[in-house]
């Protein structure tokens, strides 16, 4: 006999009667179709949800709060024309339970650098100051105007900011995504390793990049799915070894060969797609 807590005693009785192939009355048949089946379907839907990560995400985390305050204070001090600070990446996705660094996108009101190298010098300074505060930051800086212009067609921004937290300012993440085949093609170009003898971490990032393009091509924006695809396709063991820099030469060769095949296939799929632009 099955007894489910989400069903009433009467519904449980009807369910068991049905499971035992006993004849149901009209009223019992109505119970089955109007109450029992819908409740079981809801249960089926719930199974698809990763409740563990969901609970982690909504939990109040004192440590996270302290980290965010430190970041806010540091960046406000370092950036003159600060508009907004957006945090994203594994720290945000796991509510500070599992991460190596904190990814931060700093939005400035106007362009505060002349050449890109000046911007990177500024990033380097902030990262060093963060280290003194026991924070490992990965920083991007972008002008507000450029952010709004580029977001709808930037695969990176779309994926990074799928799970994000604005800790300062009033920037709005645009709702409209408008990607072209060319955007995806150009993004895939970054998976082309050229003639460099790549390190494990570089191959890992190139595979991740290619899988991200494939997901976007299939109109999927889901960081969990991206992580799962990495493990499912290349194997968790190999991915972890590449990421941690302890893959052997043979393993790197296998991973590179997989990457080349993957990129080739995605490139062909993009080329053959009947659409030019996709709105999400």
């Amino acid at each position: 006999m099955i007894k489910l807590n989400l069903l009433t005693a009467n519904e449980n009785r009807v369910l068991n009667k049905k499971l035992n192939n006993q004849k149901l009355t009209q009223v019992e048949a109505n119970y089955l179709s109007r109450a029992i089946r819908p409740k079981l379907r809801k249960l089926e839907e719930l199974k698809q949800i990763d409740t563990h990560s969901l609970l982690q995400k909504i939990e109040y985390n004192q440590k996270g709060r302290a980290i965010e305050l430190k970041i806010k204070k540091l960046i406000k001090k370092s950036i003159g024309k600060l508009d907004s600070i957006i945090l994203y990446g594994s720290a945000i996705q796991t509510n500070y339970h599992s991460y190596n660094d904190v990814d931060a996108l700093i939005i400035t009101k106007t362009k505060i650098w002349n050449k890109e190298k000046e911007k990177y010098a500024l990033i380097k300074t902030i990262k060093e100051q963060a280290k003194d505060l026991d924070l490992i930051l990965d920083i991007q800086i972008m002008e507000r105007k450029i952010f709004y212009l580029e977001y709808p067609s930037s695969p990176d921004l779309i994926y990074q900011l799928k799970d994000c937290k604005i800790i300062y300012g009033n920037i709005q993440i645009p709702k409209k995504i408008n990607l072209s085949k060319l955007d995806l093609q150009m993004k895939l170009d970054w998976s082309d390793m050229g003639e460099i003898n790549p390190k494990g971490i570089e191959i890992y990032k190139a595979i991740r990049n290619a899988l991200l393009v494939r997901l976007l091509f299939n109109k999927i924006i889901d960081n969990q799915k991206l992580k799962q695809d990495l493990y499912d396709e290349a194997g968790k063991n190999l991915i972890d070894k590449l990421k941690n820099g302890n893959a052997s030469n043979t393993e790197r060769k296998i991973a590179l060969s997989y990457l080349n095949e993957l990129s080739k296939k995605i490139r062909e799929d993009i080329k053959g797609a009947s659409w030019e632009r996709v709105e999400l």
Partner: protein, 102 residues
Amino acid sequence: MGKSRTIRILGNIVGNIVVHKIVIKHTNKPESVSHMTKEVGVYGENASEIAQEFNWNDEDKLKIHMEALKKFNHNMEQYYSDVVFSEKEALISIDETIDEFI
């Protein structure tokens, strides 16, 4: 990281950026890839961060230019063979990009 590996990586990054600049310019795409995004992160860190590990003299910059040109020619031929551009604009763009980032 050794200097010659860094030169090859920077050449790859610059070459790719210039490919995208030329493709965007000649395909009427309104958006511009004018900044270096995290996409270059495939190579570990981004170009300017890598570049800051060394001091670059004119000879080094020439080597980066040559690597970038190699990457540029390869990618244009391989992936964007239908895009028509002048060789001169590609060369100017490589120099501008090196100056912007390195």
